[in-house]
């Protein structure tokens, strides 16, 4: 579609909207963090001033990703700003703090080729529990790969999937970019691999961690792929020899797994891999009277959802690594009807006003709802045709981060 233009203007110099305004009274103190710009200075209200790029960044970092992608075509310096790493980081920080930038995805458990993901924003999930309206969902465009995907985990807006447990696909649904990483350099086929994904703050890089269990050898080999490098690097084996059933979660600069000690204690415990020194730590769970536990992350804290007969106890580890800091946040009563076999109840997300989004699931049912601590009530979320044929819903945050190596 041709744009309507009066006349072709000459290219704008890079500082077109950053004319500096020198204050008439200069202060001896440090220079201001942000520059004000103005086109003229008169005694009446001036014509509306143009804004410098750091002020623009303050506004833009609060916008949803979809809108920012549109705004890339405003001008060249805005395009550069929106792709700038510092801006992307700032945007991520704002996203993480905003309920409006968090999404819930659900997908049916189907054995076909195409992945079908349904997405809704968290505020609508919460508000549907208090009204009769159903949650508005949009179907997410998915990478066009003809193999079975399994969702594993997410970090900073990037979803991590495995394709047939042989390779990893990282995908940022907000910017619609994905990348398939090379498979592990392991020839032996009698093995199972599980993958996790997280961020190493110190080197400012994302890492995929692969744990491969060799049935015959009874050990778990661990390899790390750093985005930006192009190979898997082997590190120390996991101090645990059985197969790890669930992917680890990224929390506090570590990948952390919940594992079961079948031999000695017959209890669950936690193993965590620190990205910084690539060493392992064993952690104990809080004193829960049940074996039915799910590991998760709530607001950057490691979280255990422990299902007892009547309740789900939600615990967080306030100081990572310190067993004494396990704190029981809530005791959520079961929602009606979900008290069957193989419970996998899990706390998913907590809002700033202490409303907890939870999954209740057993062998026959899957329900999603919000627990309000202040009133002690649990309200169901109305998601159309959501049933036990669906995988566990997940929460992710919008971001501009590229999943590509």
């Amino acid at each position: 579609m041709p744009r309507r233009r009066k006349q072709r203007r000459p290219p704008v110099p890079s500082r077109s909207f950053a004319e500096e305004w020198e204050p008439i009274i200069t202060t001896k103190k440090r220079r201001r963090r942000r520059r004000l710009t103005t086109t003229t200075e008169t005694l009446t209200s001036p014509p509306l001033p143009t804004l410098s790029s750091d002020i623009v960044a303050e506004i833009l970092c609060r916008l949803p990703v979809q809108h920012l992608l549109k705004l890339r075509c405003i001008c060249k310096s805005w395009k550069a700003l929106i792709s700038d790493n510092k801006f992307i980081e700032k945007h991520l920080i704002m996203s993480k703090a905003s309920r409006d930038r968090h999404h819930l995805t659900i997908y049916p458990r189907i054995d076909s080729h195409d992945l079908e993901l349904w997405d809704s924003i968290i505020p609508t999930v919460f508000s549907s529990t208090m009204s009769s309206s159903t949650v508005k969902q949009t179907r997410l465009w998915c990478p066009n790969v003809f193999n079975n995907f399994v969702y594993l985990c997410s970090c900073d807006g990037i979803l991590c999937f495995t394709i047939m447990y042989r390779s990893v696909l990282l995908w940022n649904p907000s910017i619609r970019r994905f990348y398939i990483y090379p498979p592990l350099p392991i020839k032996d086929e009698r093995r199972e691999s599980e993958y996790s994904f997280g961020y190493h703050h110190f080197t400012q890089s994302y890492k995929i961690v692969a744990v491969t269990n060799f049935r015959a050898k009874r050990k778990n080999e661990v390899r790390v792929y750093t985005l930006g490098m192009d190979s898997w690097r082997r590190i120390k084996d996991l101090p645990y020899s059985d197969f790890i059933i669930r992917p680890g979660v990224f929390v506090s600069g570590t990948i952390t797994w919940l594992v079961y000690d079948a031999t000695i204690t017959s209890k669950h415990f936690i193993i965590s891999l620190d990205f910084e020194n690539e060493s392992y730590q064993k952690l104990l769970l809080p004193n829960v009277e049940t074996d039915t536990c799910m590991l998760g992350v709530l607001r950057d804290f490691l979280c255990i959802s422990a299902s007892t007969d009547m309740f789900v106890d939600v615990w967080i580890m306030k100081e990572f690594g310190n067993k004494e800091s396990w704190t029981k946040l809530y005791q959520v009563p079961y929602c009606t009807g979900v008290r069957g076999l193989y419970p996998r109840h899990k706390a998913l997300y907590i809002s700033n006003d202490d409303q907890l989004l939870m999954i209740f699931r057993d062998s026959r049912q899957l329900k999603l709802g919000v627990y309000d601590f202040k009133s002690g009530t649990f309200n169901m979320s109305k998601i159309e045709s959501f049933n036990s044929d669906y995988m566990d819903p997940e929460v992710y945050v919008e971001s501009l981060i590229s999943p590509c190596s």
């Binding site: 209200s45 143009t50 804004l51």
Partner: protein, 160 residues
């Protein structure tokens, strides 16, 4: 009862003079929240009228109103919603720039968020005009960018 402190400035007022020559009074504790004003006070003393060449009589009273509420700890979501309710997009922008100039952090962040909320569903053309930015893409470059992200261009509301 006002404090009779020799060192306390809690009951003291500061005079601020706008770029168009009007004078407004503000409590010293509120002035502290505006770092630019505080720096000027530190340099010039708190007895003289502080000149604010880049803030005008239309905006300053609104800013003073905000910080009056802030020092008594009464800023709520309802107050903030009411504060911007009758302002149009351009008026908010002028206030936002004034808050930036005054280095008034709390108001600046609140208005950043408010502007972002207003712009969330506006078109590219509107945003360009709003920020006074010139498009330096060629028509071909721009249409290529739009095509790449055609999916993100749906769902825009009518420009007001």
């Amino acid at each position: 009862m006002a404090q009779e402190a020799s060192s306390s400035t809690s009951s003291k007022t500061i005079s601020l003079k706008t770029g168009d020559g009007e004078i407004f009074e503000i409590e010293a504790s509120a002035a502290k929240q505006m770092k630019t004003v505080q720096r000027l006070i530190d340099d010039l003393g708190d007895d003289i009228t502080i000149p604010l060449h880049n803030v005008f009589s239309k905006e300053l009273p609104k800013i003073i109103e905000y910080y009056k509420k802030d020092i008594t700890g009464e800023i709520t979501k309802d107050f903030e919603a009411e504060f911007v309710k009758d302002l149009n997009d351009d008026e908010v922008k002028v206030l936002f720039l004034a808050a930036n100039y005054l280095d008034a952090n709390k108001l600046f962040e609140f208005l950043s968020q408010n502007i972002a909320d207003r712009l969330e569903s506006k078109s590219v053309e509107y945003v360009r005009k709003y920020f006074g930015v010139e498009n330096d893409f060629t028509p071909e470059e721009e249409s290529k960018l739009r095509e790449e992200r055609a999916w993100s261009f749906r769902g825009i509301k009518e420009d007001e």
